[in-house]
Symmetry: C2
Subunit: 480 residues, 2 copies
């Protein structure tokens, strides 16, 4: 116990682990290496910064470097861990200044996160094309959208920001038409953000329904909401190329009528993220779902004393009991915290994930949990049966009652709830937590139907939409 | 099987039972006796009608008599069941016309509901004093508040209404100052309603905290919200007398400084409700909690083939496993439906209740579930430990994030969640469903802490307020 707890990556998982560890083991040392300048920022808040709803980039920081210092954590920014030697229990660190050194560890946490993928697209080579990769990207997008003479440099009020990149983008002519490539969370949230900034927005999605993970019912209502707010939604429209030379000029995409090109002067590519695992290449580390680092119920990898958490690691799925890779904020914070406790001597499970997620598109709210799509359910060995109902969010006579669609998915044999979605404009997203709880409790659909959920005219009708859905699905399960 | 299924009472429980029975057993007969003219109305909507948020009284009706007819239900309004003979399996019915007859039954459901109590107060004898007893009371209150020349008789647009009472109240001078006696749901909702109608409102509550069933944290925030909206809240102020002679003149109440009298020209007494069980007096029926009719898990009373459901009956509490009396809308609808199925030949449990309830006071929302107060928990054999936290409803940087108070109550030995409350202005009430689900699944607080609840900046911070509360309570349970 002479060497420190070494953490690679100073975001949600890494700093949660380091903070918890310091509280539990105040006499022991923890070192956090971060290759960049940014720490502990709210990735999920970036669209709202770009939209202008969040005024300053600094609002998105949870912890400043000095606050981390005050916690007694030895934080080293500009330090990239480039190699791990599990036999020698050391990591090799390269600094931004070109130095290199070996750092021994007692325990190691790899919390290197994920990165936005660009698919086949050349984003770096084209001015006006972006991924929402990190805070520097968000700052650049924000600057690019602004009219050159109207850009407020105080927006990106964090010293870590890549100022040169911001200035370069601020100086370019402001865009008028934007293409968003990919209709997942990032795409939907960015569509809202760019409409909020006055752009003419086109959203391109490869398949028939936006937000594929949320199922059809959600995808359709979100598309309708986007259209109602001026977004042109192109479904079944795979993007083939970002057209341009140095500067983006257009988007080439396929569709029912063959290829066409839409002139645009801005593009956001949001086609997915990938776990950052390269650091462990050659160590014999086991990878799992999605190419993420395989971990056990305490966040341990197959390498001795090496843990992994956050967007680079797998976690156990509450429904299937199998490893899954779902890069989400709570998962990272929770796993980091648990590993911090475990390393400090209080073994703590990282907890299962249920794939609970929520998204907002203008006034539409949606949530999803568990196994929503038939294929995912079948792959996990279930025989899925699902029903979608539309029910009121409040008593019918109470103003503001709005149609809420609930989809429940059950396993035919056991009647167990295995997934669900909720979508609607009135308090719909937060209702997914009820389903997440039912699902983590292994409830059957009859048990869900018997839940004593709240009834009060301003918030819910006598039969909450979730109860209505359970009633209908039970009828189907009973062969009615 | 030659005699009908007889139902006494045509509101939530009675008509749910009759409707379900007809669907399941279309060849058998069901007769519903209702002593009054009203059927199937939304009791919980009455404050919103009085407030004016609901425009027409007819909006509060779920089913019209003709819709009930169309379902093949033999509905007899103006028919009061005055006696039950369990040995002879008949009921005695008196009609509004003064006739009387014996009606044999195969099965009998007593769904006679409850009635507002007036405590020591003489409400009937004083113009301007009311309970929110039924739709006729709501119509009379609405008419009384209006200026005589401004009353719109179309508000009470239901033929069943006691028109003479409405007209008499409409003709009286409009009130300026109202006292509400009792700070439970009805009191809080009526305070909001009367402020909405422009009255100067005083709310009197016997003890220190409004909404006693919701615990202190909720009571305090709701009182603050009422005060911020112009309601004068008098706590620890038991009302001693409605002062007046023919017409209400004032409210005499006690307090720290002894008795005083406040001049008012309107009062709403909302001090509780009582189950209507008199019909079964002398039959040997067993009564239970709150003097309600004792029932088993299928809604059966101790009398053969006699069921009871709704506000007149007990139900089993999900936490204690013991009978409880909690007159709430979903309980009535659900039990009625289950009994309809059981009588039709498909035995169906009525389901446990968790005491889940929600209430709105202006912009403040609150929910409660399970055993909230220490005394109730101790009476049920638990050793309660509780914590209250205040946490943000959204990510801190997202506009609209509001302080949300969550109280969780657990049993010390087992760590089991036994109750909770949520209060705040931003989507707080509906969050109680997450706790209701956890509680009905017998989750421990550590299990609640590990729930994978949704995180999205517009709806919830990374650590949902419920997770924060679970984390803090776990610390307390661990002796931190």
């Amino acid at each position: 116990m002479s060497d420190p707890f070494v953490v690679v990556g100073a975001d949600a998982a890494g700093l949660s682990a380091a903070s918890k560890f310091r509280r539990e083991a105040p006499d022991r040392e923890v070192v956090v290496f971060e290759r960049g300048r940014w720490i502990s920022y709210a990735y999920c808040g970036m669209p709202y910064f770009i939209e202008g709803r969040v005024e300053r980039m600094s609002n998105l920081l949870s912890l400043s470097p000095s606050e981390v210092d005050e916690r007694g954590i030895d934080l080293r920014r500009g330090h990239e861990v480039v190699a791990v030697d599990p036999d020698g229990t050391t990591v090799t660190v390269e600094t931004a200044d070109g130095d290199s050194f070996a750092q021994p560890y007692d325990d190691l946490l790899v919390a290197t996160g994920g990165r936005a993928t660009t698919g086949r697209f050349d984003v770096r080579g084209l001015d006006g094309a972006f991924t929402l990769h990190d805070m520097d990207a968000a700052a650049a997008i924000d600057a690019y959208i602004a009219e050159p003479d109207a850009y407020d440099p105080n927006r990106a009020d964090v010293s870590a920001v890549d100022r040169e990149r911001v200035d370069r983008n601020a100086a370019m002519p402001a865009p008028e038409t934007a293409a968003i490539v990919g209709g997942g969370y990032v795409g939907v949230e960015m569509a809202e953000a760019l409409v909020g900034r006055g752009l003419d927005v086109h959203l391109f999605h490869r398949s028939a329904h936006l937000l594929s993970d949320f199922g059809e019912a959600v995808g359709e209502r979100v598309a309708t909401e986007l259209e109602a707010n001026g977004v042109t939604v192109h479904t079944n429209a795979p993007v083939e190329e970002l057209v341009g030379d140095g500067r983006l000029r257009g988007i080439a995409f396929g569709g029912a009528d063959g290829s066409e090109t839409l002139p645009v002067d801005m593009a956001i590519v949001g086609v997915g993220i990938r776990p950052n695992t390269e650091l462990l290449d050659g160590t014999g580390v086991e990878l799992g779902e999605g190419g993420a680092i395989a971990t056990d119920d305490h966040g341990r990898t197959n390498l001795p004393d090496v843990y992994a958490a956050g967007d680079c690691a797998t976690a156990r799925h509450a429904v299937t009991g199998e490893p899954a890779w779902m890069p989400l904020g709570l998962t990272a914070n929770r796993a980091g915290r648990a590993i911090g406790a475990t390393v400090a001597g209080d073994p703590s499970p990282v907890g299962d994930i249920a794939g609970t997620a929520a998204v907002k598109a203008f006034e539409m709210e949606a949530g999803r949990v568990g196994l929503v799509e038939d294929e995912a359910a079948r792959d996990a060995g279930f025989d899925p049966v699902s029903e979608t109902v539309t029910a009121g969010s409040r008593s019918g006579y109470y103003p503001g009652a709005a149609p809420t669609d609930v989809t429940l998915v059950a396993d035919r044999d056991s009647g167990r709830l295995i997934g669900g979605t909720v979508v609607g404009p009135d308090r719909a997203a937060i209702r997914i937590d009820t389903l997440a709880t039912a699902l983590e409790a292994d409830m059957t659909v009859p048990e869900v139907e018997r839940l004593d959920l709240a009834y009060a005219p301003p918030f819910s009708p006598v039969w909450d939409p979730i109860l209505v859905a359970a009633k209908v699905l039970n009828g189907t399960l009973d062969g009615e």
